[in-house]
């Protein structure tokens, strides 16, 4: 009997989805250029059923690709040929809220925004806020160690998770907590991209809502001045609640879409949010306005409505850029803040070289870039050219002392870039960790960590000191 038949027999009606048309909705995640239909999709309604799925898949040596809401941007939840997709969206209960200790216990399918909605009446919220927060699930957030605008001040997912319950491929339940001594397994599980276990319960830290938040909008005549202002704000001892930058192209796109009053003659725009008590916000505002005195336009939100308006343009920047091109590719490199200006210049040069337009709209405070490369998938060869452009950006990020991903994960998208970031010994250790949890390699195999022969074939093995590309760059 095939694995699909065994699943159909073991589980109640409506849990197992089969057939080419029915599984089509699950053939990709948010990175829709990569598609693959699975053998079947299983949407369990309780943990017992999750265990049954794992047991059947293990017996049949069938790979399992775990999926949250499918909003990921690196292909982490893309099915594999002959795999089962294990979708956890039906496990969406908020199990308990502990107001006194500011904790919430959640099932993996709870949507990110639903956590904040559930605790709002207590004056609390869940701080990490990926752009997809109305749809993405907390289980997926943990698997990808998701970020968002507020992560500069309040930390990434890993900093906001207190404990996890994880099922191993053998169905064993692991309970990992921040309080554990020894190996940092809780941190290891954050960003493990479905390779180590199935996350079935998450305890998150809740944050008190700030009394007041104000946003400063600063426009600049030069990209370099704007990028340097980012570094100067941090240098002045201020950690804003959000510090976002947009280049001219992104400003024009966002303004055309949202009409919020961004200055169209500016080369770059900074949005700096400050939150806390009234006194804190005022003190930080004084410093920030001093640092930003070189801006051509400077505006502080005077009301909550105005603050939300100023953010509206930034938040709609991605769909706004989407109106200007048939397709766009969103990159996710991260670099030290002091190289932001150099990096943006180099991206501009690459844009000319590849003859592809780029809009930059990103978490500048974190040094987390999101260049959006505009292309047309219907033009033969243009996607390949775009991917090459993207790889160049990621290589530059590594060369500047940064990383190939800030918050979107590796998935299938950045396997080649991983060869540039890590040497073969480091990659071997990653494979050993995977083997320790999943010796038969059944959990999302082939994702996140490239096989060594793949890197060798690319000829992109880690270059050792002394032979680094871009020797003109200062390094850590």
């Amino acid at each position: 009997m095939s694995v699909v038949h065994q699943l159909l027999r073991a589980l109640p009606k409506g849990i197992v989805i089969t057939g080419s048309e029915n599984t089509r909705a699950y053939e990709c995640d948010g990175l829709s250029v990569y598609r693959q239909k699975p053998l079947a999709v299983v949407l369990p309604e309780n943990i017992e059923q999750v265990k049954q799925v794992l047991q059947i898949c293990k017996t049949n040596n069938t790979p399992v690709v775990t999926r949250g809401a499918g909003t990921g941007l690196s292909g982490g939840a893309m099915p594999l040929e002959k795999s089962i997709v294990l979708g956890l969206s039906k496990l969406n209960r908020v199990k308990s809220i502990d107001v006194k200790n500011r904790l919430a216990v959640l099932e993996p399918g709870v949507r990110n925004i639903a956590i904040s909605e559930a605790v709002k009446e207590h004056g609390l919220y869940y701080a990490p806020d990926p752009s997809s927060q109305i749809a993405c699930s907390i289980g997926g957030n943990v698997a990808e160690n998701s970020g968002g605008v507020h992560c500069l001040k309040y930390g990434l997912t890993v900093h906001n998770v207190e404990a996890l319950k994880v099922l191993t491929i053998d169905g064993e339940e692991l309970v990992l907590s921040r309080k554990d001594d020894g190996l940092g397994l809780l941190a290891l599980m954050n960003g493990s991209e479905g390779l180590l276990g199935i996350i079935i319960e998450i305890t998150v830290k809740l944050t008190p809502m700030p009394q007041l938040a104000k946003v400063v909008m600063a426009a600049f005549d030069s990209v370099r001045d704007c990028a340097n202002a980012v570094a100067d704000i941090i240098k002045a001892g201020i950690i804003p609640a959000g510090l976002e930058m947009m280049d001219k192209f992104a400003i024009e796109a966002a303004e055309g879409f949202a009409q919020v009053g961004y200055p169209l003659d500016a080369e770059a725009l900074l949005l700096c949010e400050l939150d806390g008590t009234e006194a804190q916000v005022q003190a930080e505002l004084d410093t920030v306005l001093k640092v930003l005195s070189g801006a051509s336009t400077l505006k502080v939100s005077e009301s909550e409505a105005e603050r939300l308006d100023l953010w509206k343009g930034r938040k709609s920047a991605f769909p706004a850029v989407g109106r200007l091109s048939p397709d766009y590719y969103c990159m996710d490199g991260t670099i030290p803040r002091r190289y932001l200006a150099d990096m943006l210049e180099k991206i501009n040069e690459l844009s000319k070289k590849y003859k592809l337009r780029v809009a930059n709209v990103f978490h500048a405070g974190d040094g987390n870039l999101h260049p959006l490369i505009l292309y047309d998938a219907n033009v033969p060869g243009e996607l390949e050219k775009t991917e090459e452009f993207g790889t160049d950006i990621l290589k530059l990020s590594v060369d500047m002392g940064g990383t190939i991903t800030g918050e979107h994960g590796v998935g299938v998208e950045k396997l080649n870039a991983m060869c540039h970031q890590f040497n073969s010994k480091e990659l071997e250790i990653f494979h050993k960790i995977k083997q320790a949890f999943d010796p038969d390699s059944l959990l999302n195999p082939g994702k996140a960590v490239p096989e060594l022969h793949r890197c060798a074939e690319l000829g992109a093995m880690h270059v050792h000191n002394g032979k680094l590309p871009h020797p003109e760059l200062e390094r850590f």
Binding site: V230, A231, I234, K235, G237, I238, R338
Partner: protein
């Protein structure tokens, strides 16, 4: 300095109970500090006082207690 580290390595290898006084090494000072990165690299013998003084110039601090 290289000589001193080599000397120390010899001592460590020869002994299984050794107290290391980093002051003796004169191994102190800031290696690298970019305030905009919120990261500081210091040599092991650097005094907490000196680190705090360096950071305070940029309204920054760090969490270790004295």
């Amino acid at each position: 300095m290289t000589d001193r580290i080599a000397q120390l390595q010899t001592l460590v290898r020869a002994s299984d109970n050794l107290h290391i006084n980093t002051e003796w090494l004169d191994y102190a000072g800031v290696v690298e500090y970019y305030p905009e990165e919120l990261v500081i690299t210091v040599k092991a013998g650097t005094s907490i006082k000196e680190i705090k003084k360096t950071l305070a110039k940029n309204s920054q601090s760090y969490f270790f207690r004295e």
